[in-house]
Amino acid sequence: MKITRRHLLVLMPAAAVAWKFVLAGTPEASPNYQLTEHWWAMLMDLTKCIGCGSCVRACAQENDVPDGYYRTWVERYHVTDWKIERPQVESPDGAKQGFPANELSDGKNFFVPKLCNHCADSPCTQVCPVGATFISPDGVVLVDKNYCLGCRYCVQACPYGCRFINPKTMTAEKCTLCYHRITKGLTTACCEACPTGTRQLADLKNPKDPIHEFLKTHSVQILKPHMATGAKVFYNGMDGSVR
């Protein structure tokens, strides 16, 4: 704990230089970033989630998400006994401040973080009339805010409720999987801030990515599989009541 100011000042210049690279978007990975060599996804290990909302706050700070709108959020489920078709769900302010204490013991309780599933067959990009939202070559569903009409058809088409209209830009907005970070070799803001390792960014095209081993050894689900969206956020330990 004892660190002198001097110590810091000596350290500073070197670190500052390294940091400049990150800010300029050129840490090692970035100049050689090849669009075709990645296929991004996320792993969500629900057995670890503590519902602290760190991801929601980090996302809001990282992406300037306006208050009352969410690129990611956390839900708390409460399922009594066998009634898995009627869970009680809540997500106060998207869990930006975590969850109030609860001690419900009649049944099971758990948290489910949500974000854009970056579907490979995304219904939202399908309906965009002008090509303002699209799947990037590296598998991320993005919105071109300089081209979007704000017709909101994509918001209607998303089965997961992941899109909204930004009241400032009046264009559709959604999780970019922190495209500005992952293309610089950083992880997403939500994964960075997740204290438990619930969220893990995964690159399906990278054979060394631990996700492959994980998928091999766990029973993993996606949300609303009957929608056939090709969702790429994989949930481990997800209860049947989640929708």
């Binding site: 940091w19 800010l23 909302g53 489920y77 969850f99 001690e103 990037s136 500005h180 610089k184």
Partner: protein, 160 residues
Amino acid sequence: MFKDIEHLIRLAVVMLIALIVFIVVRAHVVPRSFGQYGHYRGAALGEIASRPVALAGHEACETCHSDVADLKKQGKHVVVACEACHGAAANHADDPGSIKPAKLDTAILCARCHEANSAKPRGFPQVVTADHANGVACDTCHQPHRPKIDLQPETKGTKK
């Protein structure tokens, strides 16, 4: 014969002119990079990727705050990234002299993660903060970067 369909020919010409105008305008107005990778503006990828970063990432913090990092490594908070508690601090990392992360209120901060909640995984250390801390700030007893309190049997329950 021709005279009797002249008005239709005129109409066809008007429509043709409209079509040509449309095609010419279209050729000029559609953004250059449209269609580069697919049915969208290829330049959008670069625009989205060039957004500045707000969370620097714990590696960046650790280059300067190696003392905190070392301390953190001794306890279970090693898994908790600096910015999960301190908030986005890229602009501090960029210019530590003039921008500092806001002071934290441990009563809120620690409770978000540790407040007892039946939805949390069983093994996660959690307390009912009202009973546990009695309104005393968490960091009077716990060092935030290495929260474990090494209990000697006789000091159990007393401060520090």
